[in-house]
Amino acid sequence: MEGSWAGSRGKWGGMAVLVQRPSRAHRFDAIGLFALLAVSLLLAFLTPPVRGDLPTEIENRDASRTVTWTMGTAAGLAVQGVDLAGGNASLPWTAHNLSWDRPGEFAANGSLDPTLTMGAAGIALRADTANHIVDGDFVSGTPWTFEPSAHGNVSAAWDTGTATAVFRHDSPKTESSWDHLDVNAGVWAGVNGVAWTNTTKPHEGTGMLGLNFSLGPGPGAWAGVQHLAPVNWSSDRMVVWVLPSNSSLPLTFNVTAYVGATLYGTAPRALVAGWQEVSVDLTELGPVRDALISLTLRVNGQGIPSGTVYVDDLRLGNAKQFEETARVRQSVVKANATSPALGSGVVRVNWSTPTATGIVRVIGIVNVTSTSGSILRTFSAAPGSGWRPFFADVSATTALPGLYEVSVGIDVIADNTSVSSVEARIDDVSLVFPNRHNGTYLSNAVALGTASEFLGVTWAFDASGPTTLWAALRTGNDSSPGSPTWSAWQFWTAAGTYAATLPSASFLQARVDLTTTNASASPNLAAMAVATRHRSMQSGSVASGVFTIPAAELATFRNWRILEARSRTPAGTSISFAIGDGTYWKPVGSDGNITDTNSTMIRWSATLATTNGLVTPTLERVDLVYEYLGLPARVELRWPGWPSPIVVPSGGVVRFTAVALDAGSHVISKEPNRFDWNTNDSHGQVGIDGSYRAGEAGDHIVNVTFVGTTLSATVHVRVLAAGTWIDAMIGYAPYWLAVLTLGAVGYTGYRFGIRRTSSIDDVFLISKDGRLMMHNTRRMRADRDADILSGMLTAILSFLKDADPEENGELRRFEVGGKTTLLERGPHAYLVAVYSGKVPRRAGKNLRRFMTSLETNFGDAFARWSGDPEDLQDLKAFTGRFVSPFRFRPPRRMNGRAS
């Protein structure tokens, strides 16, 4: 290392000196280091000091010091129930959640329309749930009437075992074999194909009739097996099993035959894969079928180069054809009218069809009839396992009171020749008139305890389909919802959590409108939660630790002067202070005066409180000021009659007292021997006790200096010749007594006369822009604020001037309410004098003379006046001369502070 800071190695011991010239590189390092230090110092200078909450102490100019605590952190502070944030102490926010998650809580805090009901799940529209069907569950079978179908094909009965109503149909087959098609040679022949007998896997018997065919591409192509002899098919139905094979679909099947010379054909039936039973309505071959010629079983199609179809087990018979309904029925008396709206009347039935074979289909029927009309509802009662419900809305027919016939039945449709069997059951039949109506829930004005902010609201409800639910909240500041302090309603139409934009307030009201367009459906209100917050209503406190006067300052410490705080206390909030020394607390008055405290240990506490949950007091800083005895700053002289001028006869004695004070006007010394006394009265003298004995007549000075300092004070004394004094007092006593008496009488008379006839009540000196510069009044208390009066007077004069330009600002006098006002304008201000009684003849001239004198002495000050009354402090005394009852005489130009 070529260069180093000396430290202990250097010649200068501990002083930092460079003992060896550093290399160029190190010189740059050093320059850089200096630059860094300089920048650091500059930054340190420019950057505000780090905020600290331990007290800081600063020196004041008046022999006092201020100890300051700030609220940046809790260091050095005892904090209870108060937040410290942003350099302030304030009352913290307190969260408050209003939560109603049970219907009972809604009911306890408000009222429900009669159309609403309260259940475990929430609040909903009230429904009439009574079942107007008696024995709907078929426990007793009465008063049901069980009616079989018209021709007895379907029965209706009460099944006591299962407690249900049961409907049945059972019938045997009506068909019989006409040709088993086991042996076909010589009986059937192929047409447009080759017919043959196949004995492999026939559907019935030992064989079946096969047909190999080929169908051309054009329409109308067919092939078939034709019966070689005429046949008598007088039955109305032919049934045969058919099997298409060799991928020969699509194909249709029908039957043709000649009756006489006329060829008849049945409607083609589409064939599907696999064995299928085809039923053919033979009436389509004409009414007379006892000699059918060339009867052919055809397959129809096109573009099939090679196909095969098998037929087997051909049967003939007459079909069972009917559609009949069996019912259960009972009468219902409805006492009250309901709405015809959808959902106002509903029939429910549970049904089951375990069996339905050999028929076309089964249909369920619900019928409600009255003298005012009838309503019929049907449903497909297809066979299957289990119970299924069916609902029929009968609102349109059942609105009026009266007698109704309610029936539930099963309709069976059959058109078959095979064995038929149907079993259908019904149970749990009900007829209800729910008749729900719209309703509203309205809460009371719910007190939140204090004014609060609203952060969010959560609604839990279900409103779907024909139902709607509108939830609403509003807030106010009294317990009378709808009064002017209450806000408008804010609505929500969907459940969920929302940020609330409700105005802050101390009361809350909830309203929920439940509506439906289907009298059997209802929305459901489950819960509501409102999140709020407010400032803590519990008062909080901040207290300092004990501050002790530093030991070096104990000797001069005198007393504490004042507690001052930088704080904000909006309406409804307060901060109260107390001080103590660690053993007691005593409150501090609003003026902060703590001059009766002279303990060298002190601490303070501040209690923050609010009665309005929306606002908090904030405390930013606390200052405690204490006084101490400082160094001598000035000397003051006192004498009997102070501060009147001192006039003393030659040889007379005046006893002066000198006081040495510090910058805070604390008395340092008043002992005479600590002062050095002098006078320029060559024949007079001042003793060490401050006694001045006047010498020769004339004006002299007495001077005193506080010993050991340059601080001094001087006073002027006028010494009268002893003879003049005594002669004046004794020799001419009769004359001056007479003159004095006459003067007193005359003055009294003059004053009495003047006051009887005229007096100046007020003198205003007003700047051209309307600001009051000075007001002198002889009244004890002004009727109106002089600043406001000055402004209004200026406005009036401006108005008059603008209203009549010819007037040109020359208004000099006006009379109002028995008083006379004179005005005089100057370049920078104008003067207003208000007289009561008769105005002296010379008043106007006096006022002009006074205005001129004011402008002469104060004109420059008027021109530069910033608005600070201190700048014009000599005006008052000056004006006093004008207000005096004697004629105004302008003084010589003043040398006062009017500059």
């Binding site: 822009d769 600001r771 600043d787 406001i788 209004m792 406005a795 401006s798 603008d802 600070d868």
Partner: protein, 186 residues
């Protein structure tokens, strides 16, 4: 107690008719004269005293005479010289429910400036208490654009609730003092 310095100043309260100028300050001023002077004379003067803390631990009392000027434009042109003369600050008031009153403030403030030069201005957007009851057609953006030309801060105020009115006076007073080279604790 700390020494108190005093200063007297004059501010003008301007804005279109019916924006709520008189109502806005009514509860915050000493008011010796009836409101009818505004319509007969064209102006009414009231007074507000504000005490500020100064850095040297002194206090400063500002006696503000507030010249409430009638909100008719024709009148403004007629008497502006007289009433605006010597003003140290402007309280410019607009109605939150009428956008036109905000736009008109530009002419009002320019009218004052023509008489006394550029002085501190504070915008008061009044009737904020009606924000939930009527449709509001303008907001921060429009107000910011209107007041930016005069470097004027703005406050939403309510004559009904007194919201921000105290702050309005404090802010204007601070700006007037700062313009005169006097710093006070804000």
């Amino acid at each position: 107690m700390p020494e108190m310095q005093r200063i007297k100043t004059k501010v003008c309260l301007v804005g279109e008719a019916a924006v709520g100028k008189t109502s806005l300050i009514r509860r915050f001023v000493q008011d010796d004269f009836e409101d009818r002077y505004i319509t007969t004379l064209g102006a009414k003067v009231s007074k507000r005293e504000i005490v500020f803390d100064m850095p040297d631990r002194k206090k400063l009392q500002m006696d503000i005479t507030i010249w409430d000027i009638m909100g008719e434009k024709g009148f403004r042109d007629l008497l502006k010289e007289a009433f605006f003369h010597g003003a140290k600050g402007v309280l410019a008031v607009a109605d939150l429910t009428r956008y036109s009153t905000l736009k008109e403030l530009d002419d009002w403030v320019q009218g004052v400036f023509k008489v006394v030069g550029e002085i501190p201005v504070v915008y008061a957007i009044n009737k904020i208490d009606l924000k939930d009851e009527v449709m509001i057609l303008y907001g921060d953006k429009e107000i910011g654009e209107a007041s930016r030309a005069f470097e004027a801060p703005f406050f939403y105020t309510s004559a009904k609730t007194g919201e921000n009115v105290e702050l309005l006076f404090q802010r204007l007073g601070t700006m007037v003092l700062k313009r005169d080279g006097i710093s006070v604790a804000s």
